[in-house]
Symmetry: C2
Subunit: 191 residues, 2 copies
C-alpha cells in the first residue's frame, strides 16, 4: 500500500549542472542547477530551469548561450557553494578559485577544472511557473582526455559525476555498475 | 586541454523514468524515459521527452496524463526491457509480471512494485525536434512506507534508484554519501 506524500519536487536521480554565463559586462558567472537534463536527441538539446530572480536568468536572456560543466565528485563543496551564492553579490569563480574558460563555440564561460562541458545556444524559452525553462542546442561537448573511454566518448567511471537527492539528504557518488543498457533486459523479449 | 567530441547527448546523471499511460482502449502501458527531470518548483512540474513514433506519445496526447514510477535497483532488467520493447507489439506489464495500478489522482497507471510514483497531468507540450517534451504538473507523489525517512519524505538510500550513463556504458547504482546540500559548500561564504 502506497502512502501519499503530496505534490513535491522529488525525483531520483537529479543532476548537478554547473551553468556558465557571461553578464552584460562580460563577467563570467556560474550557477548550480538541478532542474534539467537532455530533452531531445536530434538536434541534441538540453534543458535547464532557472528562476527569474537569479543572475543567470538575465545573462541567459542577454546572450542566449550557456555552458554546462559537470563536476567530478571531488568538487562537491564548490558545486554546493555555487548553488547557494548569487553572482549579483559574489564572484563565484574568484571565491572558489575555479578557472573561467571562454568557450570557442558559444558566448559563455565554462569551468576549466571540470571534466565534461556542454556548450549550448538557447533555442527556446518557456515560462512554466516559478521557473523558466531554457532549451539549449548542444553545439559541442569538450572533455578532459583523462576521462575519455572507448569510441572517443567519456566514460562515466572516469568522469565520476555525482547526483543530488532532492529529499533533504544531499549529494551521492556514482555506485557500482548494474548492467549494460539495451541489453540486460533482452531476456524478456525471448519469452 | 579539453578535447572536442562533437554535439552528442551525453550528460551525467541521467534518470531512469518508467512512464505509465493508458491507451485509447484503457490498456496500461509503460515506457522507460531517460530524457526528463524536474523543471519547475511551483507549480511542481516534471518534463519527459518522447518521440512521436512511440506508443506512449499517442497515449499522452489522448489522455493528457501520466505517471512516473521510479524503479529500485533490483528492477534494472525490467526497466531496460521496458525501454527496448514497444507497447504496440508487447504488453510490457504481462511480460515482466509487474502490476499496473490505476492512479487515484490522474488517468494513468503506475508500477505497483516500484517504491516512488509521481502522478502527473500534462500542462504543456513542445515539439523540439525528434523528441516532443511533455510538461506534467505533479499532482501527488505516492511512496511505499518502507522507503520513507524523516519528515514524511522518501529517503534516497531506501529507494535505491539507479542512473543511466548515456555514454555506452549502462546502469549504475547509487554510491556513497558525499555531503549535505546547501551546507557542505557554506565554508566558501565565510571567506
Amino acid at each position: 500500500m502506497k502512502k501519499s506524500i503530496g505534490a513535491k519536487t522529488i525525483l531520483y536521480p537529479t543532476p548537478v549542472l554547473v551553468v556558465g554565463t557571461y553578464d552584460k559586462d562580460g563577467r563570467p558567472n556560474v550557477m548550480t542547477v538541478a532542474w534539467g537534463g537532455i530533452c531531445c536527441s536530434a538536434p541534441p538539446c538540453v534543458t535547464i530551469s532557472v528562476r527569474e530572480a537569479t543572475y543567470t536568468f538575465g545573462n541567459l536572456m542577454e546572450n542566449k548561450a550557456f555552458t554546462i560543466s559537470l563536476p567530478h565528485e571531488s568538487y562537491v563543496r564548490e558545486a554546493d557553494y555555487i548553488g547557494i551564492a548569487s553572482g549579483k553579490n559574489e564572484n563565484k569563480f574568484e571565491v572558489t578559485g575555479l578557472t573561467p574558460v571562454k568557450s570557442d563555440m558559444v558566448n559563455a564561460p565554462y569551468v576549466g577544472e571540470f571534466p565534461v562541458v556542454l556548450e549550448c545556444e538557447v533555442r527556446h524559452t518557456h515560462k512554466i511557473g516559478l521557473h523558466t525553462q531554457f532549451i539549449g542546442e548542444i553545439m559541442d561537448i569538450k572533455c578532459d582526455e583523462s576521462v575519455l573511454g572507448e569510441k572517443g566518448r567519456p566514460h562515466v567511471e572516469k568522469v565520476k559525476p555525482f547526483i543530488w537527492a532532492p529529499d533533504g539528504t544531499g549529494y551521492y557518488a556514482l555506485g557500482e555498475f548494474l548492467g549494460k543498457a539495451f541489453s540486460i533486459g533482452k531476456d524478456y523479449r525471448q519469452k
